[in-house]
């Protein structure tokens, strides 16, 4: 891979990471801690909204964030033809040498 495309791959990577971290910060520290009392004015079912985000919602958002990251990075890798799955084979081979015992 050329230096140029490595640079632009890294830039796109940083952009993905920063935007996902912005959501991460907003939902956990923003909604779950800083705005929690305000959000408690609203209700969903038996929950106050702020309390629900702090004890349930934020965790669900974290899970979603990681899977969005996996999806976006897979797409980015494909765009730059960074096929990583074949390294699996090389890895297994190099390890089998140590398995003699």
């Amino acid at each position: 891979m050329s230096d140029n495309s490595a640079q632009s791959y890294w830039k796109s990577n940083i952009k993905i990471v920063l935007s996902l971290l912005a959501v991460w910060f907003f939902i956990s520290f923003g909604c779950g801690i800083l705005l929690v009392d305000f959000l408690d004015n609203f209700r969903i079912g038996g929950f106050k909204l702020g309390f629900w985000i702090a004890q349930q919602g934020a965790i669900l958002v974290f899970v979603v964030l990681i899977f969005v990251y996996i999806y976006l990075m897979d797409k980015l890798d494909d765009k730059y033809n960074l096929e990583t799955s074949n390294s699996n084979q090389a890895q297994t081979q190099s390890n089998s040498e140590g398995d003699a015992s």
Binding site: M1, A6, Y9, W10, N13, I14, V17, L20, L21, W24, S28, F29, G32, I33, L34, V36, D37, D40, I44, G45, G46, F47, K48, F51, W52, A54, Q55, Q56, A58, I59, L60, F62, V63, L65, I66, F67, Y69, I70, M73, D74, D77, L82, E83, T84, S85, S87, N88, A90, Q91, T92, S94, N95, G98, D99, A100, S101
Partner: protein
């Protein structure tokens, strides 16, 4: 069958399973011993990571802590899950690409310095060791209460099991036992939670029952409203409102998140998958598996609290249920009849409150409080043991790799053969198990406290050093070393100052900016970053080949380093 017989059956079956797996997965090479040969499928690694991560504290203590903290308990929930976002986005894929065995490996190579490697060894061993002591204690509590053996025998049995599969199988044995342990612990956590949710709200999903209306038998009304009402009536803090200051909750949450992402036993799990893509995936799977327990725990906390108040407040002491007397024997519940009326007054005011409940028993006693069948009660014991042993094994492996690989092979005895290194690794695990067992039997008073601070120390030392090593090519050894030392010392000093030297000042007025010792790791992280960046400005940039390493780990695929 009695609870005790059921417990014997479950513990015997699960331990047999772990030993079977250990025999099946013997490690022959250092690669297998340290990183399970790097061919663990991402789904299995996700489960193993979840079991590795969820310790006796998550299983036994967390729901109990939350049920006494109410909304403030949030920092455990978000802190111990949000860290996985950082781990997945900032660390796991790059460290996998780097592809060595340990965290000190990365620090030592990236910062081209034996000093940096040794500091990392020191931090890894300190953090893992305080953490492992807590696991042994947790195992001891379970054994003593459910099998009614004494704590010493309990700890020795636990040690023998961990020793057997960790020494034989190394990371490979640990990984596959952790997969089994995850299944045991999540089943053991969910079954009682589902039972109780059905009992109290008629809804089989605890996460939904948490926000639902109570059944007629429990008096109707939304669970949380009811709990708020009862708490206020008895003079406790309102359950769904916070008591701690916003900045303290903010800092504690951040410290737990950064700490999670900096814990060596979690990080090394990502060295065990075949490639970068799988590292990302297994971080996602791990968080799914963790979230199942972490979204259930606050529901269990609310159910348990409601149930406890309903069951014991204003009840004749002579008429307390059987579980109450059993737990009294372990001193984890204590009743003192201050006004001599023969009834238990459980209220918020410490002057008139007559009941002290140790928060650790909330999960263990919850099925009994709710009157669930004996086999469910016994299942919880097996789950708690799975949680404690799986984490202990992961931590012991970090200690052993740090000693055999980083300290001996990479720092002082580079000429030893692979077979010798493997022997040293096994000896190191053996010694670590013995010390941890000793501390589990004779716990120093501060161990339980120190475990919580392991996070602050990990946050202030490893997390910034690794992130800078990946994202800041200009970061050199001077900056990284200065940052780690400054962050670690600052955090350690702050904690020791308030917990040991001057405990009288340990309150919101005495703290720096109102931040408790639990949350100071966040500040330590900032100190580390600031010192590292400043020092790096005034010292020479890292050599060309190190900058090349950084370029290389930023791209997945291509050359696989090993």
């Amino acid at each position: 069958m009695s609870v005790q017989i059921w417990t014997f059956v479950f513990v015997f079956l699960t331990f047999g399973l772990y030993i079977g797996i250990a025999i099946w997965s013997r490690a022959g090479s250092t690669s297998e011993f340290y990183v399970a040969g790097s061919d663990v499928p991402p789904l299995a690694n996700g489960m193993a990571t979840a079991a590795d991560w969820m310790s006796a504290a998550s299983f036994i203590s967390m729901a109990g802590l939350i049920s006494f903290l109410g909304r403030d308990g949030t920092f455990y929930l978000m802190g111990w899950t949000g860290g996985y976002v950082l781990l997945a986005l900032l660390l796991a894929p790059y460290l996998r690409k780097f592809g060595k065995f340990t965290v000190p490996d990365f620090i030592g190579d990236r910062y081209y310095s034996k000093t940096a490697r040794l500091i990392a060894v020191f931090c890894a061993i300190t953090i893992s060791f305080v953490y492992v002591c807590g696991q042994m204690q947790g195992a001891g509590i379970v054994f003593s209460r459910f099998l009614e053996v004494d704590i010493t025998t309990g700890v020795v049995i636990g040690m023998a099991i961990v020793f057997f599969y960790a020494v034989m199988g190394g990371m490979k044995g640990i990984t596959y036992t952790q997969v089994a342990q995850y299944c045991v612990l999540i089943f053991a956590f969910m079954v009682p939670a589902i039972f109780i949710s059905i009992l109290m709200t008629g809804i089989p999903i605890p996460q939904l029952g948490f926000g639902a209306e109570l059944t007629e038998a429990f008096g109707g009304g939304f669970l949380l409203d009811r709990l708020d009402g009862m708490s206020e009536e008895l003079g406790f803090a309102t359950y769904t409102e916070g008591q701690r200051s916003t900045q303290d909750v903010f800092f504690i949450t951040a410290a737990l998140m950064f700490g999670t992402a900096g814990l060596p036993h979690v990080i090394i799990r990502f060295f065990t998958v075949p490639n970068v893509r799988d590292a990302r995936r297994s971080a996602g799977y791990a968080l799914v598996f963790i979230a199942i327990l972490y979204t259930t725990a606050p529901a269990v906390a609310a159910f348990a609290r409601t149930n406890l108040i309903n069951t014991v407040d204003n009840v004749e002491y002579s008429e307390v249920p059987e579980w109450f007397t059993k737990w009294e024997a372990t001193n984890l519940i204590a009743f003192e009849d201050k006004n001599d009326d023969g009834r238990i007054q459980y209220v918020g005011d410490p002057e008139t409150n007559e009941l002290n409940v140790n928060r650790d028993i909330m999960v263990l006693a919850n099925p009994e409080i709710a009157g669930l069948p004996n086999w469910v009660v016994a299942l919880v014991a097996a789950g708690a043991l799975a949680a404690a042993l799986s984490t202990a094994a992961g931590l012991l492996l970090v200690i052993s790799t740090s000693v055999a690989h980083d300290f001996m092979k990479r720092s002082f005895m580079p000429t030893i053969t692979e077979r010798q290194e493997l022997t040293y690794a096994r000896i190191a695990i053996f010694v670590a198990v013995l010390i941890a067992g000793y501390v589990g039997i004779n716990p120093p008073a501060y161990v339980a406290q120190v475990v919580a601070y392991a996070f602050g120390l990990a946050a202030a030392s490893f997390f910034p050093a690794i992130v800078l090593g990946i994202f800041q090519k200009r970061m050199n050894k001077h900056g990284a070393i200065a940052g780690m030392v400054a962050g670690f010392l600052f955090t350690a000093f702050y904690i020791i100052y308030f917990k040991t030297l001057n405990p009288a000042l340990d309150n919101a007025d005495g703290w720096l900016l109102g931040i408790s010792p639990e949350g100071i790791g966040t500040f330590g992280t900032l100190v580390n970053l600031l010192v590292a960046l400043t020092v790096a400005q005034f010292t020479p940039e890292p050599p060309e080949d190190v900058q090349q390493i950084v370029e290389n780990i930023r791209l997945p695929g291509e050359a696989v380093a090993r």
